[in-house]
Symmetry: C2
Subunit: 181 residues, 2 copies
């Protein structure tokens, strides 16, 4: 259910084509929800069929035609209704933690490598989040004011990554203490 409302939300802010949407997804929603272009197109067709979206075909020169989607009244109503409803909190799904759980099958050196690899990945992710954060604060105050709510997930992302990194560093320190036991 979530993808459809992510799509409706983006098109509510500004109409666009499937291709457009994909890019806007990557720049914003992808921090907390991702989707491939195939999913996007499938969802757009379904939403169109159900009458939640209008579709205007725009012929273009030298490029494939564009299908520009926008919300119908029914679409806006559906989005509104969903936005007010409680959303079920998701559980963590992290394969790496299953590997930790299976840790008795690894030597402590292998375990270290696994942890260090993940640390690297999370540090890199933190870096890109912080970069995006800096970009946000370097824009004009009007922009910051207008989009402050939409900016909050990024802040959560930053804090979550820091938490993960702290945890992994402590675990590494503990692995050192324990030696090869």
């Amino acid at each position: 259910m979530s993808l459809r409302f992510a799509v409706l939300t983006l098109l509510d802010i500004e109409p666009g084509s499937g291709y457009d949407l994909k890019r806007r997804f990557e720049r914003s929603i992808s921090h907390f929800w991702s989707a491939s272009h195939q999913q996007m197109y499938r969802e757009l067709h379904k939403l169109h069929q159900e009458g939640l979206l209008d579709c205007a075909e725009q012929p273009q020169e030298g490029r494939p035609d564009k299908k520009v989607y926008s919300l119908t009244d029914a679409g806006r109503a559906a989005l509104q209704e969903w936005a007010e409803k409680p959303a079920a909190p998701q559980k963590i799904r992290e394969p790496f933690l299953i590997q930790l759980f299976a840790g008795h099958r690894l030597t402590s050196a292998q375990m270290r490598r696994q942890l260090e690899r993940h640390l690297e990945q999370h540090r890199a992710l933190l870096e890109t989040y912080q970069e995006q954060n800096r970009r946000f604060y370097s824009r004009d105050p009007e922009h910051q004011q207008r989009l402050w709510l939409a900016h909050q997930p990024l802040l959560l992302g930053i804090e979550t990554e820091k938490t993960w990194i702290r945890w992994a560093e402590q675990l590494l320190a503990r692995l050192d203490e324990e030696g090869d036991s």
Copy 2:
């Protein structure tokens, strides 16, 4: 792919039936990976077919027969191989953050209600995690020593929940400041 290795990991620690597995899942792995009993049975059948599991049928009195699964050599090899391999870090998938993103469709009172509802849920989750943590530390030192690695995901869960709660509280405070703008 993760479910199959979660199953293999649990059966590597101790053989058991599908029903057993389900309960052990709930007590341990479910903090970071969940599955329904249907998924479990399906996975067990597949793993058995592929020769990664042995199955011993145990007739019981007054109860349905039990199928006790345990790893074959091939199963242990597959688990080992997977445990050494890098695991792709998962992205956050949190519908609530999409709702935040669609925040312009809500009044700030509605937004407050949504946030408070989520805060409650995360506080409750933190409580149950901390309860499990206390139980762990109340057990004998030998037990703590033996399972310290498997206990780490719970610590991560606790810190993650705290982070979430801090973030939501700050957001609430900010909503108050902004008033009904």
